[in-house]
Structures are given as structure tokens and as C-alpha cells.
Amino acid sequence: MTTRIFGSGIRRREDPRLITGRASYTDDIKLPGMVHAAILRSPYAHATITSIDTSEAAGQPGVIAVYTGEDTDGVLNGLPCAWLIPNSDLKTPDHPAIAKDKVRYVGDAVAVVVAESRYQAEDALEFISVEYEPHDAVLNPKEATQDGAPQLHDDVPNNVAFTWAVAGGDAEAAFADADVTVSDTITLQRLIANPMEPRSAIAQWVSQTGDLTLWSTSQNPHIARFLTSVVTGVGEHKIRVIAPEVGGGFGSKIPFYADEAIAAFCSMQLGVPVKWTETRSENYLITTQGRDHIEEVEMAATSDGKITGLRTTVYAGLGAYLSTASPGVPTILHGLMYSGSYDIPNISGTVYGVFNNGTPVDAYRGAGRPEATMLIERLVDLMAAKLGMDAVEFRRMNLIPKFENGHDVATGLTYDSGDYHATLDICLNAADYSALREKQAKLREQGRYMGIGVSTYVEICGLGPSQVAGAVGFQGGLWESAIVRFHPTGKVNVMVGSSPHGQGEETTFAQIVAHEVGVDVDDVEIIHGDTDLTPMGWGTYGSRTTAVSGAAVTLATRKIKEKSKALAAHLLEAAAEDIEYEDGKFFVRGSPDQAKTIQDIALMANVAWDMPEGMEPGLEASAFYDPPNFTYPFGAHLAVVEVDPATGEIDLQKYYAVDDCGPQINPMIVEGQVHGGVVQGVGPALWEGVVYDDDGQLLTGTMLDYALPRADGFPDIHVQSNVTPSPHHPLGLKGVGEAGTIASTPTVYNAVMDALRPLGVTRIDMPFTPEKVWRAINSAQNGA
């Protein structure tokens, strides 16, 4: 029956249009009179622009206009950073949409050509002559802070955009008193998000009305409207942002980019719609990347295996400019998570946010939490090895015991609920951990190198309480809203401010409504992604759409139910207290056969022929949900690998993921999210990574060199779950969008290092390409 729809793995209604190519993306949209922009990009990572001559380009066939940075003076404001972390001395150097005197990464916009066709615009780019005076570039975020390193921004000494610290307990004392300490340096290389759909923008300025419409591949159209207003000066009430079908984002479509500002600028200059769509090569150069951490970390413990302290110094590369949310990612979303799933009483961490001559870095699936989980789980493995303990036993001794309503960790967060031992046990049982260890011992005798890697994780999701958002410098709120509207026929539209782009909320939100008021799930349609059609919301990222927007949908639907009850009482001539509800029917207690269905109620409310005194017509409700706390999903993953020491090749043989995201609206979608996340997290351990040369040229500029994970690199991913509801969410939900990505990188990292332990290998930088593994083995064997 309909009530069972919650928890049912029904198929995603999004999929038929997506997998048959019938979905309509921004680049599919063609407006009358629309013209096309192509952007000239800096070939240098760091240079002064000494002259630009656009005259020849302006005369090329089809060219309508050519603009440089100077043309935007007094018209476009700089691109804002929207996460101004406090107590950090954050510097926010100017970030013009089109560079004026200096370029700071390969891909920085230098000029734009608008032409009748994109081909003509691209051809004309070749006729713009720019003279540059190149400077040295710096990419390594630690080297960038050293004296004498190339300086990106005049007003940012040593390229340090901010210094941020987290402390809890007394880490100094913990290390001074420690029986045992371990340390490591971990590099989390830059990653390219690689959504299937590259970014695209169409700006349409109507000068007669002063209306600006922006079609944009955004994960958060309401934020995009706000930032478009900041950059163009057009009032928010005159801006409409539409995110049509958006083909994935993984965080890279959160920021507001120069390109959108440029499209808006061109349309406002020319009075015609202007389209810009990035090529895949441009995507690799300019769309925000993830990670870029150098982490110098250490852990203290007692000799009997209790962790007593954790210390970190992290150099987080930010790229050439601050992107929309970049300062918050390596700090709030990273440093506050240093306790992981463990009881670590003393923690101290310092994060340097560092400008370097690369593409700006911002949130990428997991955003800060994979970088935290990585260092914790790596140190836990190293400590277990040093203490001569099994890595799993050591974890068990330090995991936070089960809690149902709040647990404080040293970084100041209060986790909502957790049962970390349970997910670990389920995972170990599924994998048959002790049998794996026995097999490993046997293979080692035969000279074969099998490795078993385990990682637990806890993540901070459901961002978040708006008061906290304000306290941590996020320049916005983090609540969500929803409108649930019943039509006379009992069909339902739900308008949400969040903006799903592949996650499946068109299905799961309909399941929530069906579950709450007993309508058929197919009678509910979810509308999102258009600021004119939907109420305010802060967008889809940080595993927050179900956790926050889903709560707003739940609460709005509950208001519908309350009103329906009152109307049913009136129609059944009973007191509201005597009305019961079951499966979409309202009836007087004891007389279920005399019921009013939700459809009856919807009809009456809409025609309003017979309403109780004082009740407004219509059946529509809205709710604003500001979460009282974050949610903290968690889990345990295990991987088995075998390394071929002759070539360094790694065979990923088994993968087990056990995640607890609270109750599951749709287990199939949860499994899909975990699958995708696991794959995306294994990528950087084994294959993926951005490589720049010393001059800041991107060497992994196409998919010929940038190795994305592929299906044939994976065994079956064994997915299981446990259910620990969040105590504060109306449905107990926590969110699952990033989970897989967070645990899988350290899981595979630990597995490979476990395989190589008998060979004496202690560290390798990710990704573990065969040659790096082969070299590490050779140098360990040669005693180097």
C-alpha cells in the first residue's frame, strides 16, 4: 500500500529521460536572436599582460563584439567569495571576471569574443594578440608559503590567504606525555570533478524591462541569483536563474564563475541573449578542482592502544583566486572533523589556505571530509602497526561507543547519533575479516602481496543550522523551504529551493509526500531549479538536500495533513480530535468506512463550497526548515587488493561498504549513491590526479591523460547498511551523497600499504600508479 512507499526501492523517475537522451540541458536551449561567446584564456600560469590588441579579431566574419577586462570597469564587480571564515586573517584579493593586468593561472579569462556562431567566435580568438611578461609560477601549496616563492597577489604576503586553527584539549601535553607517536606526510592531489555535462550559461538581458534571466548549470540557482546581483548590480527581484537539467556537479557547479558574469555582461552590452558553453578542455582548465592538500600529521597514543592526541599542519592549495566557498572547505568542513569516529581528547590543527598558480579549488564531493578521514585513518593504521596491534582491534579500542542523542568531540562539534562499532562489525562479518587475514598470511608465504584496508568514517552533513553558518562566516543561511500544493484532482506539485542534479530527489521527495499523506507516488511532481517557480533555498551540496530540503517537504506535507484533518472533521461533522488518519483516508475513530480521502479533501479545499468557518480555501502549505544541528552519517569500508611487485600494478579484488545514513527513503538510490561515491573515492587512490609542470601548464589536460575510474577496474561493490536515526531530523534522515567518497580513498590507500608492508614500503604519494609503486618497492628493497 501507499504507506509502504517510504523505504521502497522504486525506480528513479528521472532515469528514462536521462538515459534515452531526452533531457534538456542548458546547452540544448536555443533562444531567438541568441549569439555565442568564446573566451580567450591565458596560456601562462603567471604573467603580466603588457598589451592586448583586439582590432583584427573584431573584423573577423560573424564577430559582433570583443571585450577585454577594461571594458568591464565600472560595469562588473569582482567575483565575491561567500565563505569568509572568521578568526583567520582571511585576505580576499580582487578577482575580476576578465583579468586586467595580471593572469594567475592557465585558463584565466583575458578577452571574450561574441559572434553569430560559436565556431566564428573560436576562430576569431586566434586573431587577438596579447603580449605577456611571464613570471615564475608556484603550484606546491607548501612551497608557495616560503620566502622567495612567486607572489600571486601583491597584498597577500607569502600567498597565505588565511591561517586557521582548531584546538581542543591539550595536544601539547598529550604529545609530551605520549608513550608512542607516529607521523606522516600525506598529499591529497588535485582532482577534476568531471561531471558528464560541462558548465554552460545563457544570459538574456531585456533592456526594456531591466530583467536578466540566466540559464546556468548551477547546483544552487538561488545563490547564483544572489551572486549575479552582486556582480552585475541588477536587483535580485529582476533576476531569474534557471538551472534546467544539470548533468552532475560534484561540487564544481556550486561556485559562481567568471564565465556566467561574462555572459551576463555581454548580453547587457548587446541586448541579445548570449550563450557560453565550456569545452571539455576548458572544463579541465577552469572549473574548480578538489583537494590539493599537503598534510603533516602526527598521532599520540598510550602503549596499551588508546589514542591521546592528534596534531596537524595542513597546506591547502586554493588556486589563483578564492572561489565561492573555498575558504570553508579545508577549515570548517575539514579541521572540525579531526576526531573522526574516534575518541581523541586532545586535538590541535593549523590550516594554511594558500594561493597557487592553478585552477581555483573549491568543494568536491566530500569537500574537506575525505581530506580529514584520510589523515585520521592513515595515522590509525600507522599507530596500530607501531603498537603491533591489528588495525581493526586498534580501531575498536578507540571508536566512540554507541550514542543516540549527542556526543561532543574535542573540536567542538556535537555528533547527532552513531553506532560505529555496529557498522564496523557488519563490514568485517561481510568480508570475513579473519579469513582474509589467514589468506593474506598464506599468500605472503608464496611471495604474493595481498593487502587488506579498513577505514571508518563519520561525516558532517545536512548543512546546517543557519546560526552556525553565520558564526563560521558563510555569507548566507543554510535552511531550505518547500511548498506543497494540492490540485483539485488530488495531484500534487512540490516546489523546492534545493536543486537536485542527478541525485534522485524527484523520486525520493515524491516518496516522502506519498508516505506522509497517502497519495500515490506518481501523483506527486517535484519542481526545482528555477528561482521564479520555487521558494528560496540554498542549494544541493554537502549531502544536504534530503537532510534539509527533505525535512522542509516533510513539514509542509504535515501541515497539509493537519488542515485536511480539520476539513475532514467539518465534512464528517465531527470534532478534529476524533479524526483518525490512515493510508490517505481521514475518518471518525471507529468508522473507517465513512472516510474522506485526501483527494476528496483536496477537491473540497479547492472548490471551497463547504469550508469550516474561518478556514482559508486551497490546500497548499509551505515550510521553512532550519536544522537544529548537522547530521553525521558514518560507516566502515574494507578493500582487498593484490600488488604485483614486478610491475607495481594493483588489482582491486574486493570492496565492502557499510554505511549508516539513518532510515532510507529509497534503498536503491542509497546503494547507487554509495556505488558512485566509492568509485569516485577509489579514483584518486589508484588512478586520478591533476599534474602540472613547473611552469603551471596542465599536463593532464584531456581524458587521454587524466585517468577516471572505469567499471572494469572494480570488483562487485558489496553494499550494506545499518540504521541509526538522527535524533533531530523529522524523519531521522542523515544524507548519503558523499559517504562513499569519504571512506573509499583511505580504505584503498590502507589496503595497498598493507600489501606492501612486508616489502618495507612506508609511503607513496597518490595516485598509486604502477610506476610509483614499483619505484617504492625497489627503493625499499635496495634499502634506500
Binding site: Y119, D123, S281, L704, Y706, A707, P770, E771, W774, R775
Partner: protein, 288 residues
């Protein structure tokens, strides 16, 4: 990705195609497009004229010949991988064609394009060299035949003249009783060969009677592993003999091994021995 402007022609015969090439400077042949079009999109090449030979039926198909096969230049890698005739007479060619890129690439990419592009990381040149294939080339001046090992002259360079088209590839069947294999270390991103080893090993009376071993991917053109071949010839093909023969490949590289961000020259050469060993084991196991 927006290539520069180009003029497009679709001739219906080889003669017409050759005429177009001869009369247009900077013209390029377009076959499956899976090497050429990516380069055009990146504007790394910008041919003034494209001569699309894709509809010339005479260039397609696989035929049995006396003692071997003739394969039209336009035959796709997928067709070759699935062909019974190829699997029977030159099984390592079918095996290698089936390892090219992914299904979409194999469905479009042609054997002629694969060879004519002379990419050192391509799979088919090494295999055709091991098979001692003959390549037929047609130009203004008529037809000529070139041995596969003489075709490529360097990185993306070969003996084709501006007006010439590769029309077909002839290979002899592998010796009866021989086993063959193509073993590949695929680049994780491109799927091209970082190392590709083609081996054909003849066995008679438990000893190696013939050996042809060629390594692709390491140097700019396929490397004939003569030291490996001589170590194999007459050996008893025991594990030890194969170990020894495979290790000998180090002596076959001419010192122009390639290096990139994924695999250095040193690594390629060292690991080539492991892949040669694997190819020999597979070939020997299939002999008989």
C-alpha cells in the same frame, strides 16, 4: 571543442580520393576519425581539406588468400576482432583488435587509420610487424607494397606520400602448430598501449622452432625483440627458458624509449620484460 574550418569531400573510389589528395595541399584522409578528429578538436591539426574515404566499399572487408588474409584498410577493429577468419589464421591480430580502446572506438576505428596514424602507443602496428604483414599503398604513381616494419619512421611519421592511401593489409597465417598472443599494459586513461607485446612461437618436438616477438609502446616505432627471439629458438620453452628469453628484451631497445607522466622510459623498459614473459607464456600455452 571546435575545430577550425575545413573543406569536406566524400569520394566514392580510391582513384577519386587520390586525385583529391594530389590536388589539394594540406588535405588529409579521414577514415574512422578516432585519431584525426580529436586532434582537430584540440586544433592541434587543421587540415584545409578532408577526404572522407569512409564510403569506399572497395576498402572494406576481410578475404582469405593463399596462405593468409587480406584486410581492407577501412575494416573496423570490431570487425577484425569478431572475424572467424582472422581468429583462425592470425589470432593475435583479432586479440589485439579486441583490446583497442573501448567498444565505441573499435566500432569506428579502422585498421588503416590505426596504422597510418603511426602512433607508437597503438596496438596494431606491433602485431602486424610480428606477423610480417605487407601493406598496400596507392597513390598518383600507382600501387606499392611496404613491409609493416618499414612503414612507420618515427613518432606519428611514416612513409606515406601526400597523395597516398593505405588500401589493404596482407598477412600470412601463423605457422601451423604455433601459438600466439598479444598482451597489453593499457594506459588507465587512454587505454592505448603503454607496453604491448605480440608473440608468435612455433613449437616442434617440444622445442621452439620459430619465434617472432615485437614490443610496441616503448619506443617510437615497434621494437623487434631479436634477442628474445634468438634466446627462444631451439630452447625447450621451460619456465626457465622463457624467463631467460624475456629478460633478454633489455638488449633490444635502441635507446629511444619514450617517457611521459605516467610511465618513464626506465619503467617501460624494465616492465616490458614482464610483459614479454607473459606474452611468451600465453603463446606457448596456445601452441600445438
Amino acid at each position: 571543442m571546435f575545430p577550425a574550418q575545413t573543406e569536406y569531400h566524400r569520394p566514392n573510389s580510391v582513384t577519386e580520393a587520390v586525385d583529391l589528395l594530389a590536388s589539394n595541399e594540406g588535405a588529409k584522409v579521414l577514415a574512422g576519425g578516432h585519431s584525426l578528429i580529436p586532434l582537430m578538436k584540440l586544433r592541434l591539426v587543421a587540415p584545409t581539406v578532408l577526404v572522407d574515404i569512409g564510403r569506399i566499399e572497395a576498402l572494406k572487408g576481410i578475404e582469405a588468400t593463399d596462405g593468409g588474409l587480406s584486410i581492407g584498410a577501412l575494416t573496423t577493429q570490431a570487425t577484425i576482432a569478431a572475424s572467424d577468419l582472422v581468429n583462425e589464421r592470425a589470432p593475435l591480430l583479432a586479440e589485439a583488435a579486441g583490446m583497442v580502446g573501448d567498444p565505441a572506438v573499435r566500432n569506428r576505428g579502422t585498421i588503416g587509420g590505426n596504422i597510418s596514424h603511426s602512433d607508437p602507443a597503438s596496438d596494431l602496428p606491433a602485431v602486424l610487424t610480428a606477423l610480417g604483414a605487407t601493406l598496400k599503398v596507392t597513390g598518383k604513381g600507382g600501387d606499392r607494397s611496404v613491409g609493416a616494419s618499414d612503414f612507420a619512421t618515427g613518432l606519428l611519421e611514416n612513409i606515406l606520400g601526400e597523395d597516398e592511401i593505405l588500401t589493404s593489409v596482407s598477412v600470412s597465417s601463423i605457422p601451423s602448430g604455433a601459438g600466439s598472443a598479444y598482451v597489453k599494459f593499457a594506459h588507465p586513461a587512454s587505454r592505448y598501449a603503454v607496453i604491448g607485446v605480440a608473440a608468435i612461437v612455433g613449437v616442434s618436438d617440444g622445442r621452439c622452432s620459430s619465434a617472432s616477438v615485437v614490443v610496441g609502446g616503448v619506443e617510437t616505432t615497434p621494437t623487434r625483440a631479436s634477442s628474445v627471439e634468438s634466446a627462444l629458438l631451439g630452447s625447450d620453452l621451460s619456465d626457465e627458458a622463457l624467463d631467460k628469453a624475456a629478460a633478454a628484451v633489455a638488449g633490444d631497445f635502441q635507446g629511444d624509449a619514450m617517457s611521459d607522466i605516467f610511465a618513464s622510459a626506465e619503467y617501460r623498459q624494465a616492465v616490458a620484460a614482464v610483459y614479454v614473459r607473459r606474452a611468451l607464456a600465453a603463446a606457448v600455452s596456445r601452441a600445438g
